[in-house]
């Protein structure tokens, strides 16, 4: 690098650094935060700019991923107007919304149970949440096949006790994909809610009961609004991950989700502009829905914190 450009670079750094230093109390703090900021810029922001760029390129000639240096909105037109991407997005959102609703409701129940439990029972319940978290996602999801398929353990059980005559077709299918996806996100939902409940004062519930609230009522009136920051985190995480789900619908479902389609388009079909445009549309749609969820839920309780 020439001395000139060196000077230019340091000039640029000066220009950004100085106002930052001016607006914060300690230079040392900035230096400590710098590595992470630089990392995020290099590994998160920059690649996304490239993603955006590719999404507005022309499709490649036969056998190439995209035509470098060209500009075109074809990919977006394709994504927004053709049927398949719309169906794929709709399917992903279905899984996302249903799995999230189940995960959050069940997560709240379970987090509450953990919160109320004591001693060994509490450890056991916590353990049951943490262990699946540590088990390879691919495998634990696949384990639902022998459990839920028409000849699987559940159906055998239900048939042998006479509850069923024809087996339930859970796997493969939408229900299976949702069960699998709930299984993947439930531990996170439980822990997000539990971590808020754990800081909550049990006396609030006692106060409600003392003032005449029955048990379900006291939970609804006091626990839910108090746990709302955790519920919001659980909802956002469950939703983001379920909409982008790949393994569960692949292994347990029978329809194509957004993630499966993008994978095929990138690796197999070499349609990068379409794949990246679909990704961009998907992120935008997701962020809009997440924003709406947060806005609606925050009206029922505490503010969202990053924790």
């Amino acid at each position: 690098m020439s001395g000139n450009s060196n000077a230019a670079t340091s000039g640029v750094i000066e220009r950004f650094w100085k106002p930052l230093v001016a607006r914060s109390r300690s230079k040392r703090a900035l230096l400590l935060m710098a590595p992470l900021v630089i990392f995020e810029l290099l590994i998160f922001v920059a690649p996304f700019l490239i993603l955006l760029r590719i999404s507005v390129s022309e499709a490649g000639e036969r056998g190439t991923a995209y035509a470098e240096g060209t500009w075109s909105t074809d990919a977006y037109t394709n994504v927004l107007t053709s049927e398949v991407p719309r169906e794929v997005i709709a399917h992903s959102f279905t899984i996302g919304l249903v799995a999230t609703a189940i995960a959050v409701v069940v997560g709240l129940l379970y987090a509450y149970a953990i919160w109320r439990a004591e001693g060994f029972a509490k450890s056991l319940l916590l353990f049951s949440v943490i262990l699946p978290l540590l088990t390879t996602l691919v495998v634990k999801t696949y384990a639902f096949r022998p459990l839920l398929s028409p000849t699987g353990t559940l159906n055998n059980l239900l048939e042998s006790i006479g509850l069923l005559s024809t087996p339930l077709e859970i796997v493969p299918g939408l229900a299976g994909a949702i069960v699998g996806q709930v299984y993947i996100v439930l531990p996170y939902a439980v822990l997000a809610i539990y971590s808020v409940l754990a800081t909550m004062d049990w006396q609030l519930v006692e106060a409600a009961r003392d003032l005449g609230a029955s048990r379900p009522r006291s939970v609804l009136e006091v626990v839910v609004p108090q746990a709302m920051p955790g519920i919001i985190v659980a909802t956002v995480i469950s939703f983001a991950w379920s909409v982008g789900s790949y393994a569960a619908p692949f292994l347990l479902g029978d329809n194509v989700t957004f993630a499966m389609r993008v994978e095929g388009q990138i690796l197999r079909d070499f349609q990068w502009p379409t794949a990246t445009a679909l990704s961009v549309v998907m992120i935008a749609a997701m962020l809009v829905v997440i924003g709406a969820i947060v806005a609606v839920l925050s009206r029922f309780g505490g503010e969202m914190e990053y924790a």
Binding site: R62, V84, P172, D269
Partner: protein, 334 residues
């Protein structure tokens, strides 16, 4: 192993070969690898891949992760278009001469050599009161009224070809190469009672086991190998069918081009394929090879028989790729 970048092919003693992952690879390691290593003072490093094979070569930008790779018709075509393969010098693959003409002619051999493959077959339940024998039977009312059909979704063009073959409007799968008939082909598929969209052989077996389907489209080689593990299933190879043929290619940028060509030539030898056939019920290209067991009765042993397999012609098909892909996806997601 380097931390930065991937492992560069080691110094001359090792040849890295990429094959289809799964039990294809197991069988390859079992039979071909020892044969080759016994004959040559070379270690074969077998890598496995799936639909990421081309992506891996492409990303390597001239420093390919494999010296030799297997490709099916689609990858062979795309790889050629993307300049991912070295051309193969005819003088280094003398055994191409011995290949059944049909295999060496319906696709160009400038960048890859035909070695092995498999036709698509029909798997069905023995206790079904109907025995499907050709692809048109998938549209029959008996199959319609059965529990359902399982077909491949990853390599969707094979079921699409099967549908076209079953239609009989044109020779073989000609319907696909005539734009005016495309809708009819997909209507045909739409009418199938598809209950399982399989992305692996495992999915198919699972679907039979769980009683989701009674009939399936799959590949002869995998079917013949696995079907013994499942009770009450049988399979049949329709007389007119489709299938895949593997072309073996030398990756562009390899520093072992000679060795690679020599290896591919090795694969094309009749004695090698005869031996290979003992562990893999695949279709082989050498006219002089001998199939193990009674496989020769089912798999083509001559050009006439081979012509009954309508392999996808990607030179033409590529124009419709996006259209077909969306159609197929929308049937699946319906």
């Amino acid at each position: 192993t380097r931390i930065f970048g991937d492992e560069s092919a080691a110094s001359g003693e090792t040849l890295t070969v990429c094959v289809w992952s799964g039990n294809y690879a197991e069988r390859f390691k079992e039979s071909v690898v020892p044969m080759y290593e016994d004959e040559h003072d070379v270690t074969l490093q077998v890598e496995t891949g799936w639909n990421n094979i081309l992506a891996n070569i492409r990303q390597s930008q001239g420093n390919p992760p494999y010296d030799v790779t297997v490709t099916d018709g689609n990858f062979y075509y795309r790889g050629r278009q993307g300049g991912l393969f070295e051309s193969i010098r005819t003088e280094n693959v003398p055994h191409l001469e011995e290949a059944i003409d049909y295999y060496s002619e319906f696709r160009p051999t400038e960048y890859g050599m035909p070695v092995d493959g498999a036709p698509c077959n029909i798997i069905y339940r023995e206790d079904l009161d109907f025995e499907p024998s050709e692809w048109a039977d998938l549209s029959s009312s008996a199959v319609e009224n059965s529990r359902g059909i399982g077909i491949d979704t990853g390599f969707w063009w094979f079921p699409v070809h099967a549908a076209a073959i079953g239609m009989d409007d044109q020779e073989a799968a000609g319907e696909l190469y005539d734009e005016s008939l495309h809708d009819e082909v997909f209507d045909e598929i739409r009418n199938w009672n598809v209950q399982s969209w399989a992305s692996s052989g495992q999915d198919i077996w699972q679907a039979f086991e769980s009683g989701t389907i009674d009939v399936a489209q799959w590949y002869f080689e995998q079917t013949a190998y696995d079907i013994g593990d499942y009770d009450g299933l049988t399979h049949t190879l329709p007389e007119k069918t489709t299938g895949y043929l593997n072309h073996w290619c030398v990756t562009s940028g390899t520093d072992k081009r000679d060795r690679s060509e020599e290896f591919i030539d090795f694969l094309m030898r009749s004695d090698v394929q005869t031996e290979w056939s003992k562990s893999s019920p695949a279709l082989f290209c050498n006219a002089d090879m001998e199939y193990a067991n009674d496989l020769g009765e089912q798999l083509p042993t001559s050009a006439e028989e081979a012509q009954n397999i309508a392999f996808p012609d990607w030179e033409q098909l590529m124009d419709y790729y996006d259209e077909f892909e969306s159609e197929y996806a929308s049937i699946r997601n319906a």
